[in-house]
């Protein structure tokens, strides 16, 4: 089936130079709180949006609630770093551990489209090995499903975003629907250094249209991918799945903060969600509840939904909620060239290599890392320079040297650890709900990977001709926190993303991932949600109807 026949989103957007189909939103079907909808989804990002698009198409009555706004790229987004602060989740949160992980702009979105509004746009698949790291390498965890289970959904989503890139030689080799983009200065440097060292590097894979796709125009290479794409070229669910969902009768209810999932104490089933909108407490009834709030808010919502049946938090019978939360080690190396790189021109995601992704038996560590171009804009570049210890005149001098720097980032596969987790803090937010406290500490394998990735990136930039190089330690992405497992004692959900504890409660976001590979998680989150939606639709058709 053609992409348009199964997901018409790109053709439902306007083609007159504006970016939002206001009529589709105005005419959106709406449900009353008292309607028992077939499905209510909490969070309208990668997982939640895919769910409602699929299930609206299957004829379900669905509502998605999101704590943030229903964005209009024309009116709400700017081509400016500091002015994009409202794209991030900035409610209070605490961080701790030996390696505390900054949240906000680093990894946390809000509003319809979720973090994919401000992700770079890299959409690699996981490798087959990622699903069985425990069996293969004795580290991490095995998933209750394998790569072949996800493969058809990877292919489907890659067509819907769509993804542009060269033929991909790593993991399960595959091709992409759109040809690779031309590269800018930063991509050129990466390719030059990789060639000099004999490291295979490829252009892509990025979810940015290369050529017209439906009514979405070609990328204009303005470099502000992380500030929300005003062009509608970079994929986010706001434009790739929500329009089709609305056209098939789904409701998206923005500015609705869900505070608790209600459980019928007699039947043990979820009955709906409590939420606050316009300051008023409300309750949406639903036959099925799916939580898709990502790795911090999903565990927080479960922990805040304690009841007599679940005194330690919903689905927390075995103390699994909030645990095994992962970030990727993302050391960032910059190299200085007398030539002008001007890395702000062209999208930050351009070129990547997965040549170091798999376990190398000659190395003292397990698993690996990928390397990608990252092209920080001035404020983020200032963070890099300041993290190097520079301040005062040195900071200003390095900053004025901006056009000469090229910048690469690694994604190191940090291992899942029980103590890396979300718990509730004593502090409460303006709704009166306890806020999340996120603790993170690296293990020795994590630290070894950071070091190895740094060495490769510094070598690569030097091979490309860099004079000075400077590396800072960063972290990227979030996954885990309500992981999928074969047995209820080892996780929160099963292979279909259904919670072990509540038969009509699902979790369909990045928090279900048991491992993370060295891949950006967005594509895998969407593919998993698409698979869950398909199985949910089939389950109801065969069992209930």
């Amino acid at each position: 089936m053609s992409v348009r026949a199964r997901n018409e989103s790109a053709w439902l957007l306007p083609n007159d130079g504006t970016r939002t189909n206001h009529r589709l939103r105005r005419d959106m079907r709406t449900f009353a709180d008292t309607d028992e909808v077939d499905l209510v989804v909490v969070g309208c990002g990668a997982g939640g949006s895919t769910m409602i698009q699929r299930l609206a198409r299957a004829g379900w009555k669905v509502v998605a609630l999101d704590a943030g706004p229903f964005w209009d790229p024309d009116a709400d987004w700017v081509s400016d770093e500091a002015g994009s602060h409202h794209l991030y989740w900035t409610e209070p949160r605490l961080i701790s551990g030996s390696d505390p992980v900054p949240l906000g702009s680093n990894n946390s979105g809000r509003g319809v489209g979720g973090s994919m509004v401000h992700y770079a746009g890299y959409t690699p698949r996981f490798h087959p090995s990622d699903f069985e790291t425990l069996s293969r390498d004795g580290v991490g965890a095995d998933w209750p499903l394998g790569y072949p289970d996800l493969k058809p959904y990877y292919e489907a989503i890659e067509g819907e975003l769509p993804v542009a890139g060269e033929d991909w030689p790593w993991g399960d080799p595959h091709r992409y629907p759109h040809r690779p983009h031309p590269v800018g200065g930063n991509g050129e440097i990466f390719l030059r250094g990789a060639y000099a060292l004999g490291i295979e590097a490829k252009v892509g894979p990025v979810a940015i249209t290369n050529g017209r796709f439906g009514n979405r125009p070609h990328c204009i290479y303005r470099g502000f991918c992380l500030q929300g794409c005003k062009v509608n070229a970079k994929a986010s669910p706001l434009i790739t799945h929500i329009p089709d969902a609305l056209a098939h009768g789904a409701e998206v209810r923005p500015d609705a903060m869900v505070t608790r999932v209600e459980i019928d104490q007699r039947s043990g089933r979820a009955t709906g969600v409590h939420y606050v909108r316009d300051g008023r407490p409300r309750f949406q009834r639903a036959k099925v509840v799916a939580i898709a709030g990502y790795s911090i808010e999903t565990p927080r919502l479960l922990l805040n939904s304690a009841s007599p049946r679940f005194p330690d938090g919903l689905c927390n019978d075995f103390d699994q909620v909030g645990r095994y939360l992962m970030v990727q080690g993302a050391p960032q190396t910059a190299g200085r060239f007398d030539a002008e790189v001007r890395m702000y021109k062209a999208p930050p995601p351009e070129v990547s290599t997965e040549a170091f992704y798999e376990t190398d038996p000659t190395k003292p560590y397990k698993r690996g890392f990928s390397i990608q171009t990252v092209s920080p804009l001035p404020i983020t570049w200032a963070e890099h320079v300041a993290a190097q210890g520079h301040w005062g005149a040195a900071l200003r001098d390095y900053m004025s040297d901006y056009v000469h720097w090229s910048c690469l980032g690694a994604l190191c596969e940090f291992l899942p650890q029980a103590e890396n987790r979300v718990i509730l803090a004593e502090e409460t937010d303006r709704y009166g709900m306890p806020v999340a406290h996120f603790a993170y500490s690296q293990c020795d394998n994590d630290t070894a990977l950071m070091k190895a990735a740094r060495t490769v990136m510094e070598d690569l930039l030097r091979a490309a001709g860099a004079g000075e190089v400077m590396t800072i330690d960063r972290f990227a992405h979030l996954v885990g926190g309500a992981r999928m497992a074969a047995r209820e004692k080892d996780g929160v959900v099963d292979a279909d993303c259904r919670t072990f504890a509540v038969p009509n409660l699902y979790i369909t976001d990045g928090s279900v991932l048991p491992t993370q590979g060295s891949a950006n998680p967005a594509l895998t989150i969407m593919a998993l949600a698409a698979r869950t939606a398909e199985r949910l639709a089939a389950r109801r058709t065969s069992v209930e109807d």
Binding site: G104, I220, A382, E383, A386, W391, Y402, G467
Partner: protein
């Protein structure tokens, strides 16, 4: 620390003016950026004492010239960084996280400015704002040198993170800071057509001192 007026850094990109392209920006972005060029927001959060210490701290972290030097050679364009920080704190516009061993950002700013002032009195016998540039730099360097050790009961590294995040976010959002860097700022709906190494748009200006590598010159 070298004694360079910010105006001198503009010499790297002679004649470059990010604002000259403002006519090509979309109106929403233009509104956001232009708001930074008007009157800075009045100080609402900091007390006058905190304002004095904070202004000096921002100037030192950004390598702004001291008052004497400014009188002699001029300042170039000075960005009202402290006012921008004050506005964020008044509006509680946080980064969406804080270290669990730090108080809320506003309180952390108040506490650390007071601590810096105390350090100045203990060491030099007068407040931080009355210190010479060299004295102020010494006191700031001491905080950075503590790393993860405690400074007035707080983790120095976390204090350093707080200061530099707020200061850099404010300063590098300003078009005059972009002019120093040769960065053209907003790029919608125009985009770029000449990407690649040593490729420039007609409105971009070549660096007049491409060998002026800060690392090389500091070695």
């Amino acid at each position: 620390m070298s004694d360079v007026a910010p105006g001198e850094r503009h010499d790297r990109f002679p004649g470059f003016d990010a604002l000259a392209q403002a006519g090509h920006w979309d109106p929403v972005t233009a509104g956001t950026v232009m708001a930074r060029l008007g009157m800075p927001p009045d100080i609402r959060f900091f007390t006058p004492e905190e304002e004095a210490v904070g202004t000096a701290l921002c100037d030192r972290l950004l390598g702004e010239p001291g008052e004497d030097h400014a009188k002699r050679v001029g300042r170039g364009t000075r960005v009202a960084v402290l006012n921008m920080i004050d506005a964020r704190l008044a509006e509680k516009q946080t980064d969406g996280w804080r270290y669990d061993d730090m108080p809320h950002d506003g309180e952390a700013w108040r506490d650390t400015l007071a601590a810096l002032d105390q350090d100045a009195r203990d060491r030099f016998g007068h407040g931080f704002a009355a210190c010479s540039v060299a004295e102020q730099e010494t006191l700031i360097q001491q905080v950075q040198d503590l790393g993860s050790d405690r400074w007035h009961g707080l983790c120095a590294r976390h204090v350093w993170s707080l200061w530099t995040r707020y200061v850099c976010t404010a300063f590098y959002s300003h078009p005059s800071a972009w002019d120093e860097m040769g960065f053209p700022g907003p790029a919608y709906p125009r985009g770029y057509k000449n990407t690649g190494v040593d490729a420039r748009e007609p409105f971009e200006v070549r660096d007049a001192r491409p060998g002026d590598d800060p690392a090389r010159s500091r070695r």
